[in-house]
Symmetry: C2
Subunit: 308 residues, 2 copies
């Protein structure tokens, strides 16, 4: 018999993920701070609750997918929060991207109340959420991972158990520092071609055939060329994830100069009102820096030159 | 009838490339500063010449594949150089990685002597050279590109004509700044996992399933995990290529902060005697910086902690 699932966080990712769970036959129990996000699933028969506490009384398994650590803590431990309604043995799967250290603290605090916790952040963007082929990185006890797996298999294609609590968040942080630096690198690559008078679209195509091949060059490189910055994955979330990465690095005493550089671009994007754009908009900050623009209509073979 | 081909530069890349031309039936004419590199192809019937000048008298098409701009200029314009022996109409295809501005100057100088020139640097490493599936980025006149294409098709899989002289070098520079920054990013990614007590090999595997997927994470990430730094592509050559990239950026008045950061790691590698290692050895400099080592045998789930 399909497990009833509590789901809190029906944003750009959560909405299609919850829909996939519904289609797989799982009765959904929902709560949302923004009631307008409930419309679609409510019409499909989901049960709507007036608080996380009320929702928690009705299910054994709850998925949370919100913006940051404080949001998760408030859902769990706040007034009318999950912990006030949940019964012992309930499993909470947090698919938000938050700091690994926060995730570990939450798991310990929940354990005191005989509540189980997995950190299970995702990669793959809105397209992956819709297609149900997300990459899901999980931290927590093996028995709870086994319990969650049939549900996670509906949402994702590659599901990896990386170790105890916080390990999934570390893997997600790794993902974000890699992607952020690749955005910087792809931006510099296309702008060098543009400034030198060589068609950046042709360079992207040529590079996809060699060692420089990557999904970021392919997908985000094309977005940069087209100046098409509809998210996708919002800059303000990437900005938050990089803050988490640098916080984690500081806790570990680990120098991450490349990540620190990428963070500066996200700061500049936030400071110029671009938080709602796809994070490939990083190239806009790079374009401003040297006044070279990928959407400039001057013909290729026009080489920029400077007077030294 | 197969075109006789002059080939100068039988290094880690040139040797297998020349062999592929030989196997395709093209009579080879060779010259080498280091005679020991001639042994294999000489045994297969290649004609050996005592100077670039002498070689140039015997063929209509010459491939050069040496280390840097001054090496190419010396082969062409030096005493006993190609220009002293070549007849009008000869096509010189330079597959070395040199500065685009140097490449453009060479093309103009050769044109005065009715000699044709293409810049055609490659990506794909030694494995691509052996398999004949290199990515080749070409700059120069369309008619000469058409003339070279049947030969280039033997050496590579993706052959792109990017524009006039120097355009191929710009594309290669773009490739190198992208790859160098991806090496930095992959190194930071694996070291963050290691420092946080999560198995970096499992993180690499999980990330290959998401947006962070790339050939560098796949191939060079594995080399970093194994501390297996046999080239591949030598650090000293990547160091040279990044110097070219920063020179080109300076000529264009273009800021490339990510590339400049990667350059610092290559400087550190050269200063610590690692020039002959594969460029994935960049992670060794990153390991030194924070004293976190991927080949450290301490168990995973051992989390590094600092006293603030």
């Amino acid at each position: 018999m399909p497990t009833p699932i509590g789901f809190i966080g029906l944003g750009i990712m959560g909405q299609p993920m919850a829909l996939n769970l519904h289609r797989a036959g799982h009765p959904l129990h929902l709560y949302a701070r923004r009631p307008e996000t409930l419309t679609l699933l409510s019409e499909q028969g989901a049960t709507i609750h007036s608080s996380p506490k009320e929702l928690a009384t009705q299910v054994d398994l709850i998925i949370t997918l919100v913006s940051d650590g404080p949001d998760v803590e408030s859902l769990l431990f706040g007034p009318e929060g999950i912990c006030q309604g949940a019964h012992p043995g309930t499993l909470i799967i947090d698919m938000s991207t938050i700091a690994a250290s926060t995730s570990r603290q939450i798991a310990m605090r929940l354990a005191e109340q005989q509540l189980h916790f997995l950190d299970a952040p995702v990669s793959g963007g809105q397209t992956g959420a819709i297609a149900g082929n997300l990459s899901i990185m999980v931290g927590g006890e093996p028995a709870q991972f086994a319990r969650a797996l049939p549900i996670l298999n509906i949402l994702g294609q590659q599901i990896t158990h990386l170790g105890p609590s916080g390990s999934g968040q570390i893997a997600k942080t790794c993902n974000q520092i890699l992607v952020s630096q690749m955005l910087v690198a792809v931006g510099e690559t296309l702008l060098l071609a543009k400034a030198a008078g060589v068609d950046p679209a042709a360079v992207r195509q040529a590079l996809l055939g060699g060692f420089a091949n990557s999904r970021i060059l392919d997908i985000h490189g094309q977005r940069m060329l087209d100046h098409q910055f509809q998210p996708g994955f919002k800059t303000k979330l990437h900005h938050k994830d990089i803050r988490i990465a640098l916080q984690t690095a500081a806790e570990l005493g680990l120098a991450l100069p490349g990540t620190a550089l990428a963070a500066q671009y996200f700061n500049a994007l936030m400071g110029t009102g671009k938080g709602e754009l796809d994070s490939s908009a990083l190239v806009l900050a790079q374009e401003q820096l040297s006044d070279v623009h990928l959407n400039d209509q001057s013909p290729h073979n026009y080489q920029r030159s400077i007077t030294p």
